[in-house]
């Protein structure tokens, strides 16, 4: 039985809601609804033997919302090979709340703190939202940096040395003309989120 079959069988039997599997470029991914997040992660650990917690993070999928991913692995032993599993769920953008899995995997605690400060996703325990201390950002920091609408202001504010044309210098370049920007740097007017 392939790993994908094992995962599909385990989730069909153990989870009350249907899941979808994706075998693409990366590790095998299983998409679960947010309502059954804790059960899905616990199932991966207990039934599928994925005892190694690698990381938990999120991706800002714009209109779709926030996709929270948890990378787990089943350790190789006694002829059973190493297997990866990506457990994923989608959260609505306006109310990103997810139950915490820090009691399932103790290591998830720090990852949830980071995901909370970087994306603004709230994690709950026993129904109450956890007051998570910032892990990597200083206390005075405002905003959620890894959201796609959080603009990297430094590149907008600093003049790009490549904005000049060949044969131009700072003295001669026209102020009225719109300065070109390198790819990825937004225009000056849009830098307030």
């Amino acid at each position: 039985m392939t790993w994908a079959d094992q995962v599909a069988t385990a989730y069909d039997a153990g989870l009350a809601v249907p899941v979808t599997l994706e075998e693409g470029f990366g590790p095998l991914a299983v998409d679960v609804p947010a309502t059954h997040w804790r059960e899905a992660v616990t199932l991966a650990r207990d039934v599928l033997g994925c005892g190694f917690f690698d990381w938990l993070s999120a991706v800002d999928e714009l209109d779709e919302g926030f996709r929270v991913l948890c990378h787990l692995a089943r350790r190789p032993q006694d002829g059973v090979p190493l297997a990866h599993l990506l457990v994923r769920t989608l959260l609505p953008r306006d109310a990103p709340v997810l139950p915490s899995v820090r009691d399932v995997f103790a290591g998830a605690g720090w990852h949830e703190r980071e995901t909370h400060e970087m994306f603004g996703i709230d994690f709950t325990a026993d129904g109450a939202v956890l007051a998570l201390e910032p892990l990597l950002l200083p206390e005075e920091f405002e905003g959620h940096p890894l959201r796609k609408d959080f603009v990297l202001a430094s590149r907008v504010a600093r003049p790009w040395p490549g904005a000049k044309e060949p044969g131009e210098s700072d003295a001669t370049v026209g102020r009225a003309r719109r300065r070109p920007r390198p790819p990825g740097v937004p225009d000056e007017g849009t830098w307030r989120p």
């Binding site: 600093r158 040395p161 000049k164 060949p166 044969g167 131009e168 210098s169």
Partner: protein
């Protein structure tokens, strides 16, 4: 510890500039991910002697590399279409002030004298294009 002569020829110590090769095309300044190359230039028009169409060329006013920000990624050296930028293995150029780490044209030219010759090719390799071109030019002169 290694002295400069012990280091491999392509060691990334400092970037040197041949001003004569530079046409102010701005490619290095644009491709630099750290935005540490600063170029100012102006256009000059040449009137050829004996009539003919005037031609314009770019003249470099300022070429500076800010080594306080540079991450030595080599993108500028690789992208230059005119081979104006070269790596040199010199690495001892610490400064007491941050501005001392911004090297202007004259200092970048000084680094050229420390650029080592390119590695010798394997005897079965194709000779470099510049070798064939130089041989052609030499036979034409005769």
């Amino acid at each position: 510890m290694a002295t400069v002569s012990d280091l491999p020829a392509r060691s990334r110590g400092v970037i040197a500039l041949i001003e004569e090769n530079c046409t102010s095309c701005m490619l290095c300044a644009r491709e630099c991910p750290s935005w540490c190359i600063h170029i100012d230039s102006h256009q000059e028009t040449d009137l050829p002697v004996g009539g003919g169409r005037p031609s314009t060329r770019n003249v470099l006013d300022r070429f500076a590399i800010d080594y306080a920000v540079c991450m030595y990624c080599s993108i500028c050296v690789e992208v230059c279409p005119f081979d104006a930028l070269h790596w040199a293995p010199e690495h001892e150029y610490a400064g007491a002030e941050l501005v001392d780490l911004t090297h202007e044209r004259d200092r970048l030219r000084e680094w050229m004298w420390t650029v080592p010759p390119p590695d010798v090719l394997d005897e079965h390799a194709e000779p470099g294009k510049e070798v064939a071109a130089a041989r052609k030019a030499a036979t034409r002169r005769r």
